[in-house]
């Protein structure tokens, strides 16, 4: 043992030290990422006296009661608007994006690189530019802004993300499986729906979820094109101008919890799948 330690190269020692340092560093960084989330959750149970939810005044659960959480009529409306838009965006952007992803992974065709560029540039554009561009189109066409323009904007910025997500799933797909189905007498149409589609379905669901979340979260592009169709982020921004209402903490906590539970469940499920596929 002693001999081994003496023979240990100085490099190995610094390497071990670096491992220890980075370990602590990573955990501190994760703690920093959670700081505002923990603040949000804790101050959702605060009972502030005035407009400002700045310092701890005492524990209360009252903002979790439906009568207080949904006490603002505009907020309830904004939630309905946001969920409607997010649902329709997820549905439509996923259909459009999945078709493109299938074309990109399963076919070679002219114009691929132009298509890749058309998909990449919206992801690489600042939100203000996307918002301003759509607004100038609608202004030029004299098109009234509202529900339709918000939906159009959300589908537009979600398509590329859907393509990337579905593509990630279909890229690992074994084309031989479909060919095998063909050899066994399945028509291409039947082979697609019975073999390919079930295999890429999880990717499609993940893409739909991503589109839903992106839509729910968007503030800037919606700000340019809402025409009075107030979504949840727009309401939050307006209501928080003079101090953030506790309801915002509670809503944030609930959205965070839904996301966290979903992510944890899906990780446990994929781990379960992996284990069962080994045995």
């Amino acid at each position: 043992m002693v001999k081994a330690a003496q023979e240990m190269k100085p490099e190995a020692i610094t390497e071990r030290r670096r491992g220890w340092f980075l370990n602590i560093y990573t955990k501190l960084a994760i703690a920093y990422l959670f700081a505002p989330v923990i603040f949000m959750i804790v101050f959702g149970f605060n009972d502030p006296q005035g407009r400002f939810n700045l310092s701890w005044q005492g524990f209360t659960l009252k903002y979790y009661s439906p009568s207080r959480l949904f006490e603002f009529e505009e907020l309830n409306q904004a939630i309905t608007h946001s969920l409607t838009i997010a649902f329709l965006t997820a549905l439509l952007a996923t259909i459009l994006g999945t078709l493109i992803a299938l074309a990109l992974t399963r076919f070679t065709f002219k114009g691929r690189s132009a298509l890749n560029l058309l998909l990449f540039v919206p992801m690489a554009s600042p939100e203000v530019v996307l918002g301003a561009a759509l607004l100038s189109l609608f202004v030029t066409l004299n098109f009234a802004r509202g529900f339709t323009t918000v939906l159009i904007a959300h589908i537009m910025f979600s398509i590329s993300y859907v393509v990337v997500t579905v593509k990630a799933r279909t890229a690992g797909f074994d084309q031989n499986l479909e060919d095998a189905a063909g050899d066994l007498g399945a028509s291409p149409w039947v082979a697609f729906w019975t073999v390919t589609f079930p295999l890429i379905w999880p990717g499609i669901m993940a893409a739909a979820l991503l589109a839903f979340v992106l839509s729910l979260d968007d503030y800037v592009i919606t700000l340019f094109n809402n025409g009075g169709y107030i979504t949840l982020p727009l309401w939050i921004a307006g209501a928080s101008r003079l101090g953030v209402p506790v309801q915002v903490n509670v809503l944030g906590t609930l959205i965070f919890m839904i996301g966290a539970v979903y992510a944890i469940v899906s990780i446990i499920r994929t781990r379960g799948e992996r284990v069962s596929s080994i045995h």
Binding site: F34, I95, L118, V128, L135, T140, M156, I236, G252
Partner: protein, 284 residues
């Protein structure tokens, strides 16, 4: 053969609806912004096309401070997110072991909170009489007039926080792809740890580093939310200017000119990126 012809047509039929949508609601709006930027007039009198570059020269003269500030902030935020996330993602990719996915989940989890709420929480934490400064002032560590909000520090901190995943995830993807045996090979060839990092690990992480930098720099330069919520009168950035010109002043030509300049800067970045990495890398 008829089947052959159909097979050739299929990819175009599949892409048609989505591409059509993106052409109408992304490519055409971009062209519209460009054309509107050459117009003049007001909402009440209507806008007419002039073909002059006046909106560009006017806005550049008026908002040069904000534009330069935005580019500088974008650069600082990109470097800071890189410096903060590289060691972290390196450790997770090479030392995370079986817990890799759990660490990754922990990094992503905070971002399930809506962007706006996250930023509002930083605003509350950094408030002049908030839990952080209120405490520091009570203890006497900082003077009573000290503030974080309305400063560049607050804006940059907010952005570094909000855009960290855009840097961290591409970095992780390229580090994770790397075969750790390459490092053993480097060691066998008498490379020191430092050399192995500089000559093997770092170059292999360039794709993630480029992608991450682009994905951080672009939204940071154009972001109006962080400067609006965390900044003050002296931290105005270009995203806020576009928003004000387009939405408050209804000065569509000026707003369009700034948007187009911003877009031009970014397209140059994307073009360089495509030259370095190729177009297939762009959509994964």
């Amino acid at each position: 053969m008829a089947g052959e012809g159909r097979r050739k047509l299929t990819p175009y039929l599949l892409t048609l609806p989505g591409v059509g949508f993106l052409v109408v609601f992304f490519a055409i709006p971009m062209a519209t912004v460009f054309s509107v930027s050459f117009q003049e007039g007001s909402l009440s009198q209507g806008f007419t096309f002039t073909g002059h570059w006046q909106n560009y020269t006017d806005t550049l003269a008026r908002y040069d401070t904000q534009l330069i500030r935005s580019l500088m902030v974008g650069l600082i935020v990109t470097i800071m997110t890189l410096v903060i996330s590289y060691p972290m993602m390196y450790w997770i990719a090479f030392r995370g072991g079986r817990r890799k996915n759990i660490y990754l989940l922990l990094i992503l989890l905070p971002f399930f909170t809506p962007f706006l709420i996250r930023t509002l929480m930083w605003k509350t934490i950094f408030a002049d009489e908030g839990i952080l400064l209120g405490f520091l002032k009570d203890v006497g560590l900082v003077s009573d007039s000290y503030q974080v909000l309305a400063t560049m520090t607050a804006v940059i901190s907010g952005m570094v926080y909000n855009f960290l995943p855009f840097m961290a995830l591409p970095l992780y993807v390229s580090l994770e792809k790397m075969d750790p045996r390459l490092l053993d090979a480097a060691a066998d060839l008498y490379s020191s740890k430092r050399q192995a990092f500089l000559k093997v690990t770092l170059p292999l992480s360039y794709p993630g580093l480029f992608a991450g930098s682009l994905l951080t720099f672009i939204p940071a330069v154009g972001d109006p939310i962080n400067p609006e919520l965390l900044g003050g009168v002296n931290t105005t950035m270009i995203g806020q200017v576009v928003q004000r010109e387009m939405l408050t002043n209804n000065a569509y030509p000026r707003g369009s000119a700034i948007s187009f300049m911003l877009m031009a800067v970014i397209l140059i970045g994307v073009f360089l990126y495509a030259r370095v990495l190729g177009t297939e890398e762009m959509t994964g």
